[in-house]
Symmetry: C2
Subunit: 325 residues, 2 copies
Amino acid sequence: MTINDVAARAGVAPSTVSRALSEPGRGNPATRERIRAIARELNYVPNSQAQALSSGRTGTIALLVSDVTNPFYFGIIRGTQQMSKAAGLAEVLIDTEDSPDLEGDMLRKMRRSLDGAILASSRLSERALIRLAGEIPLVTINRNVRGLPSVVIDSPDGIAQAVEHLVSLGHRDIVYVSGPETSWSNQARWHAMRKAAAKHGLEFRRVGPFARGRSSGTAAADAVLNSGATACVVFNDLLAIGLLTRLAERGVAVPGRLSVVGCDDIFGADFCHPPLTTLSGPAEQAGRAAVSLLLGRLGDPRAPAARRAVLLPTHLTVRESTGPA
Amino acid sequence: MTINDVAARAGVAPSTVSRALSEPGRGNPATRERIRAIARELNYVPNSQAQALSSGRTGTIALLVSDVTNPFYFGIIRGTQQMSKAAGLAEVLIDTEDSPDLEGDMLRKMRRSLDGAILASSRLSERALIRLAGEIPLVTINRNVRGLPSVVIDSPDGIAQAVEHLVSLGHRDIVYVSGPETSWSNQARWHAMRKAAAKHGLEFRRVGPFARGRSSGTAAADAVLNSGATACVVFNDLLAIGLLTRLAERGVAVPGRLSVVGCDDIFGADFCHPPLTTLSGPAEQAGRAAVSLLLGRLGDPRAPAARRAVLLPTHLTVRESTGPA
DNA sequence: CTGAAAGCGCTAACAG
DNA sequence: CTGTTAGCGCTTTCAG
């Protein structure tokens, strides 16, 4: 079942079928409809490999995440899938396993089979990103790189809210529990923390860095306790949940003895114990926005990388892990 | 940078390069190595669309799940990705949004661009599955269909363990909280429940069906309470966690007043409150096994659908949501 | 073992 | 507006 079969059946040239099927406005509407009807009746499905080979457009984009099974990406995945489906694009999800090398290799290898890629929390260096962007349209999420379109969820603003919240509860000794130093978000949050602390005349302190997994929570909890702080803001929810677990093990009351604020409001943040006060962001929207930006680059590949950067707001969701000092 | 460039540089025919690069054993080892060196040096990456078009093999398989953001699939996703990467296959993750129609359409549309597909918890009818299997190699997970290779995580066996556990704690009135009736796993668990109840001389009861999401937990909790049972086995952890939340809201002590057993041991089951006693299965292994089965079908497409069915064991993980009656 | 040649199914100029 | 003619980059007979 090829385009030729359809053409033969309709008594027209293959190229006419091609146009009828994939060039909306052009061609005689009557013949176009006739051809479409025949194609449908014949149950014809275009061969996307052939389309890609000949046109250069693959109709496929990729979403790269450092770990598919990190609930942090849930919203982003949902958002991008939603939007790319709406745009008639296929989306492949790629797990970079937190490795910059793997990330780069994947992109390079798949370059020809993709129209573009969205990097959620890229681990690549700025240099590498810029170079890759020359070979394939790229959009980043939660990572700002000069000249690359990006969408970032504005956690700094949320961090300020979190500190405000803690200060209003009487906390004067707040520590930041740092994630990996290579993480762009971690940097951003840390700086926001410092700024917020200064604003309230507090001393800025931090413990870490810790790996981003839940298991690092043990070490993190011990470090926080050791610091003597009465409250902490944790790099992300995964780590915060791990920390909560350890705190329970050690019999430390939350929020009685220690208040805990997480970041990202992932799946689980609402049902862990105690439910976590955390920063919520519009992750789905971020995903949709990223695809939109990519779509913009796709329409006109030679466009000057419309250096649009979308900044999305976050807000503090107060649950039960924070309380009076 | 095409195969022709490499050929020109090496002073051989394109066909020779093609063989050197993708036919392991054949050709003169010396020239093969020379060509490979040149290809590497030229940073040549084969165009997979062209390969696919001409050879018919796409080097891509798909994993279809009903909802990418359901933590139940985490392990399976990990396992399949691991195995397909090892086999040099690309894997695309497709979200069928719980819709049989979408699932079928997707498979039909992508048929030509896939070497095969793995269906994790397919919602398609047996008829539809068998028909599709004729067009593209298929492997199912947690769904047994005559003639299709499948891997199923043996929850019935685990259910028996769960009932045993509850009975040994003195429970005589155990209710099964049912998931959607269209779910194959739900059927399997329900039957296992009935059998286990009979074995212990208990009356078999169930409430539901409920939707599989966390939000259905509210209704489920109320129904269970209303049933007067002292323990329940819940279709899956998502629902069980929702139920736990509602129980807490109503001030019902778990496991004091009611013991709860979930199924699947998803992300979150260990840190919800109280931590959930649940059935754990080797999800990653299931994913790997599914890819293996598919690989078998791929090697020899005309093979008689080696109706192998892999059955993986589950075990009960006891946490704190179960206790004496 | 290697080269030449013929496509895979489609799109994209270019004519008509 | 439609048909004709070339390929896209690769694999695969088929000869040599």
